[in-house]
C-alpha cells in the first residue's frame, strides 16, 4: 500500500464523518442485532452484569439518594430536598476546588499525554537499551501514591530543594514552591506529568500494533518524519490516543492521592491544591457531611460525563477504527 492510498483511506475515515456514519448505518443494518449475538453477549457480559447489579448499581443509587439527604454516616438520613444543591451554589470552597481541578485537567492531562507519546515514539523505534529506558521511565509511576512522595517532592521543590539549587546556579533566588499558594498547584501538575508511565506504556502497546509496512510505504514515498507521524502514526494510534485522553480526563477529575499526600490532606496552602475529590473527602469524612459529599459526587459525575460525552462526540471526527 502506498502512502497516498493510506492517506486517502484515513482521510476518508476522518474527514467525512457524516458519510461515515451513514456507511456505518448500512453496515449495521446488514449485520443486524442478531439473536445469536444477544445470547453470546449475555454470556460474555455475565460477570460484568453480576458485578454491576451486585456491587456497582446499588452503591451508586444509594449515593444518589443520599445526595438529597443530610446523612452523617451514623444517624438516619433525613430527606432534605434541594438543600444540598442550594448549598453548592453558594459554596466558595466548592468553586475554588472546581477552579483548581479544571486547571489541573486542562493543563496536566494534555501535557502528560504529549510527554508520554513523545517518549513512547522514541522508545518504539528500537533503540539500544530500550528495556532499561522503559523500566527506568516507568519507575516514578510505580511510586504512585506512596507517602514517600510527600518527602520527595519537598526535596525537589522545598526551600532547600534541588530546584532552588538549580536556580541558584543561574543566579536566581528560589522560594518554597510547594508552600506558596501561587505555585503549589504547578508542582502537583508537574508531579502528574512526572508519573507519565501508564499512558506511555499504553501508547507503546498501541504503537506496536501499527503494521510496520505502513511506515515502509511512507518512507519509500519520501515522507518526512512529521508527515509519517501525521498520516500514519496519529490516525492508526487514534483509538489509543482517544482512550488515554478519555481516561486521563476521568482520572484527573478524580485526582486525589497526590494532592492529599503533598498537602497533608488539607489541599493547602490556602486551598490552592484543593482538588474536587479532596474537598469531597474533607466534607464526607472530615466533617461527616456525607449527604453533601454525595451531591458533590454526582455533580462531578455530571461534569465528567459531559466531558466524556463531548470526547465521544468529537471522536467521530478524528478517531480511526478499523472496523
Amino acid at each position: 500500500m502506498s502512502l497516498a492510498e493510506l492517506q486517502h483511506l484515513t482521510a476518508d475515515r476522518r474527514g467525512k464523518p457524516r458519510l461515515r456514519s451513514e456507511e456505518r448505518k448500512e453496515q449495521r443494518k446488514l449485520r443486524r442485532v442478531s439473536e445469536r449475538d444477544n445470547k453470546a453477549a449475555a454470556i460474555f457480559l455475565l460477570p460484568w452484569l453480576i458485578g454491576l447489579v451486585g456491587l456497582t448499581v446499588g452503591p451508586m443509587l444509594v449515593s444518589l439518594y443520599l445526595a438529597f439527604t443530610d446523612y452523617n454516616l451514623l444517624q438516619d438520613a433525613d430527606f432534605t430536598g434541594f438543600d444540598n444543591i442550594v448549598k453548592m451554589i453558594n459554596d466558595e470552597r466548592l468553586h475554588q476546588s472546581l477552579g483548581v481541578t479544571f486547571a489541573y485537567v486542562l493543563i496536566g492531562v494534555p501535557l502528560q499525554l504529549v510527554v508520554a507519546l513523545a517518549l513512547a515514539m522514541i522508545l518504539d523505534r528500537g533503540m539500544r537499551g530500550l528495556s532499561f529506558y522503559r523500566s527506568a521511565l516507568y519507575l516514578p509511576s510505580l511510586l504512585g501514591g506512596s507517602v514517600a512522595i510527600a518527602v520527595l517532592w519537598r526535596v525537589i521543590f522545598g526551600d532547600d530543594g534541588l530546584f532552588n539549587g538549580l536556580l541558584a546556579f543561574f543566579g536566581v533566588t528560589g522560594q518554597n514552591w510547594i508552600s506558596n499558594p501561587d505555585t503549589a498547584l504547578g508542582t502537583i501538575i508537574l508531579l502528574h506529568i512526572w508519573q507519565f508511565g501508564s499512558p506511555m506504556v499504553i501508547f507503546l502497546a498501541g504503537l506496536r500494533q501499527i503494521p510496520r509496512h505502513y511506515y515502509e510505504a511512507a518512507s519509500i514515498d519520501g515522507a518526512s518524519a512529521w508527515r509519517q507521524f501525521r498520516s500514519v502514526t496519529l490516525p492508526l494510534l487514534s483509538p489509543i490516543v482517544f482512550f488515554n485522553l478519555v481516561l486521563g480526563i476521568i482520572n484527573a477529575f478524580q485526582s486525589f492521592t497526590q494532592a492529599f499526600i503533598v498537602s497533608g490532606g488539607t489541599g493547602g496552602p490556602a486551598d490552592s491544591t484543593l482538588f474536587y475529590t479532596l474537598y469531597l473527602y474533607q466534607e464526607g469524612f472530615g466533617s461527616f457531611l456525607m449527604g453533601y459529599a454525595s451531591s458533590l459526587a454526582w455533580l462531578l459525575l455530571v461534569i465528567i460525563g459531559a466531558f466524556t460525552a463531548v470526547n465521544f462526540w468529537a471522536a467521530k471526527y478524528w478517531v480511526f477504527y478499523d472496523d
Binding site: L45, S63, L119, Y133, S135, L139, L142, L162, R212
Partner: protein
C-alpha cells in the same frame, strides 16, 4: 494487504544496519542518523535522570541514619546504615514478609480476575452487536466516574452483610466481576484495532464466539492483556484506601497499609524504616514490570499480522 511478516529486530540488537526498512524513521544520511540517534540517547538519559533522581534519593536515604534524611538532598552515600532494613522488617506486629505475601495474594487474584472478566466484557462491547450496547457501555463508563469515597460506605455494608470484611474477598472478587471499567475500555479499544477480517474468516469457517474469542482475539490482544496485567499489578500493589477499609486484621495487612503505619505525624516516625520498606516493596513491582514489558512487545511482534 501484504502478507509480509516484517519482524522487528530484537530490541537489544545493535542499532546498525537494520533489515529492510525497519530502521529509524529519519531517512537521511547515515551521519545524520547516528547524530539523531545520539541526540535521542542524550534526551533519554536526561529524562531518565529526571525520572530516577527522586527514586534513587529515596533508596539512598533508606541507608542513611534517621536524623539526616530530611536535610540531605544529595544522592551520595557517605554512611551505610542497613539497620533501617532490619528495623523496618520487624517494626510492625508481623515481619514485613507477611505484608508482602498478603499483597502478592491480593495482586495475583486481581490480575487473574481482571484479565478474565474484562477481556470477556470487552469482547462483547467491541465485537457483538447486542441490544442496549450503547447504554450498557455508557453505564460501564459511568461506574468509574463516581469517587470511591461516596460508594465505599454502601460497598462496606454489602461486604459486611456477606461476612467478607477482614478477608481478601472484597479486594479480589470485584475484579472477577469486571468492575474495573478502565480495563474493559482499554481492551475494547485494542480489540477494535484488530482487523475484522480475521473473525469474519473464522466465522465463515463455522467458529462460534467462544472460539473466535479464545483462539483469535485473545492471542492477538496479548499487548493489551500484558498492559492490563502490569497495571493491575502496580495499582493493586499500591492501592491504599480499599485495602485499609476492608482489611483490619494486622495479620492480613497489605504493603501500602503497613507502610503508612510507620508514619505518625504527632510522634516520632520511622522514616528511615519506611523508606527501606518502600524500596523493598518496589522491587517486586519493578521486577513485574521488567518481565511484563517484554511480553508487551513480544506479543505483537510475533503476530506479524496485517
Amino acid at each position: 494487504m501484504t502478507t509480509e511478516t516484517a519482524d522487528q529486530p530484537p530490541l537489544s540488537s545493535a542499532p546498525a544496519p537494520a533489515p529492510s526498512g525497519t530502521a529509524a524513521p529519519v531517512t537521511g544520511k547515515p551521519a545524520r542518523t547516528s547524530l539523531a540517534r545520539a541526540g535521542k540517547h542524550v534526551l533519554m538519559v536526561a529524562m531518565v535522570v529526571i525520572a530516577l533522581y527522586p527514586v534513587v534519593w529515596m533508596a539512598v536515604s533508606s541507608l542513611r541514619p534517621e536524623g539526616r534524611i530530611f536535610t540531605d538532598t544529595g544522592i551520595f552515600l557517605d554512611t551505610f546504615n542497613p539497620e533501617n532494613y532490619t528495623n523496618g522488617w520487624n517494626a510492625l506486629s508481623h515481619p514485613f514478609s507477611t505484608y508482602l505475601l498478603n499483597s502478592a495474594i491480593v495482586t495475583l487474584g486481581s490480575i487473574i480476575g481482571n484479565l478474565v472478566s474484562c477481556s470477556m466484557a470487552a469482547y462483547a462491547f467491541a465485537r457483538l452487536s447486542f441490544r442496549f450496547r450503547r447504554t450498557t457501555f455508557a453505564i460501564m463508563l459511568m461506574s468509574i466516574m463516581l469517587p470511591i469515597h461516596v460508594v465505599i460506605v454502601p460497598q462496606y455494608v454489602i461486604f459486611a452483610q456477606l461476612g467478607w470484611i477482614n478477608t481478601f474477598l472484597p479486594l479480589i472478587v470485584p475484579k472477577f466481576l469486571a468492575v474495573d471499567g478502565f480495563f474493559v475500555f482499554l481492551m475494547v479499544q485494542f480489540i477494535r484495532g484488530l482487523p475484522r477480517e480475521l473473525d469474519e474468516a473464522a466465522r465463515i469457517d463455522g467458529a462460534g464466539h467462544a472460539r473466535i474469542f479464545l483462539q483469535i482475539i485473545l492471542p492477538l490482544m496479548k499487548p493489551a492483556l500484558a498492559t492490563a496485567a502490569i497495571f493491575t499489578f502496580i495499582w493493586t500493589w499500591g492501592d491504599f484506601f480499599t485495602q485499609l477499609v476492608f482489611v483490619t486484621d494486622p495479620a492480613l495487612y497489605t504493603v501500602p497499609v503497613a507502610l503508612r503505619s510507620f508514619i505518625d505525624a504527632q510522634s516520632q516516625s520511622s522514616y528511615g524504616a519506611m523508606f527501606a520498606m518502600n524500596v523493598v516493596s518496589l522491587l517486586p513491582v519493578l521486577l513485574a514490570f521488567a518481565v511484563g514489558q517484554r511480553y508487551l512487545i513480544r506479543g505483537i511482534a510475533t503476530t506479524g499480522m496485517k
